[in-house]
Amino acid sequence: MAKSKTFNMKNKDIVMLGIILGIALYFVGAMISNVFQASETDLLPYKISGFLKLLGIGILTASMVVGGIIIEKIDRNLKMLLLILGLVLLIIYTIGSPWLSWDISNFEFTGMMGSSSETEVAFQERPTALGTPGFEVLYAIIALSLVVIVKKIKRKR
């Protein structure tokens, strides 16, 4: 008689699932904004896409940080790299988060010919859900240098 297969989820599998789900959600969100184009009158595709993208990055970051602490039977350097990169991703998004604000209080909507309506301004001012393009480059370079420095220090020991 064939043994019934049991599916035991270990810590490593849960973290792996989190990373897969996070990256997948991010790309699904990116696809939505391209397949269903947002316009001045319909901002829903953009909102759903931005929500999914940020949720995906959140799950990915949480999985990386938790994975860097609890995963066993993995190379110690890899484990440390996972933790450091997860923490750096968290810092990048913490610093970049003010660029995600979508406040159009400072704009005047006169309603005259040629002036912008509220929805037009909302459409033009929508954040990319990734902050101002390019803001992450500087922090990515800092993160990579940090990882290299940590590795060099460990090698010297």
């Binding site: 953009y46 909102k47 759903i48 931005g50 929500f51 940020l54 949720l55 990055i57 959140g58 799950i59 970051t61 949480a62 999985s63 940080v65 938790v66 860097g68 602490i69 609890i70 440390m80 933790l83 450091i84 923490l87 968290l90 810092i91 998004y93 913490t94 610093i95 988060s97 003010p98 995600l100 604000s101 979508w102 406040d103 159009i104 209080s105 509220e118 909302a122 001012e125 929508r126 954040p127 859900a129």
Partner: protein, 98 residues
């Protein structure tokens, strides 16, 4: 799953990061905020800042008081926890978003 300090800290970290990103995503889902309609900003700020608080607490407590953790992991948690706390106090608190 046993409910000890280490597991609580890990739960706090994972939950906090998820709540923080959920708060950022809520702003986009409910937005935009205008002068008369500040609800997206208010709801997002409550969720986001709660998440950040949980993250910082978990990291600093994890770095100081949790045993059964690798020495390097503890140092990293403590350093990044303090950096995140100082960032929140001295940089992000001056932004209208925070």
């Amino acid at each position: 799953m046993e409910l000890n300090k280490k597991n609580l800290m890990i739960l706090g970290l994972a939950g906090g990061i998820f709540i923080f990103f959920l708060g950022m995503a809520t702003y986009i889902l409910l937005g935009p905020s205008t002068t008369d309609y500040q609800l997206p900003n208010q709801i997002s700020a409550i969720i986001r800042i709660t998440g950040m608080g949980i993250i910082v607490i978990s990291m600093i407590i994890g770095g100081f008081f949790v045993e059964k953790l690798d020495k390097d992991v503890k140092s990293l948690l403590l350093i990044f926890g303090i950096v995140l706390l100082l960032l929140n106090i001295f940089v992000l608190s001056y932004s209208n978003y925070w």
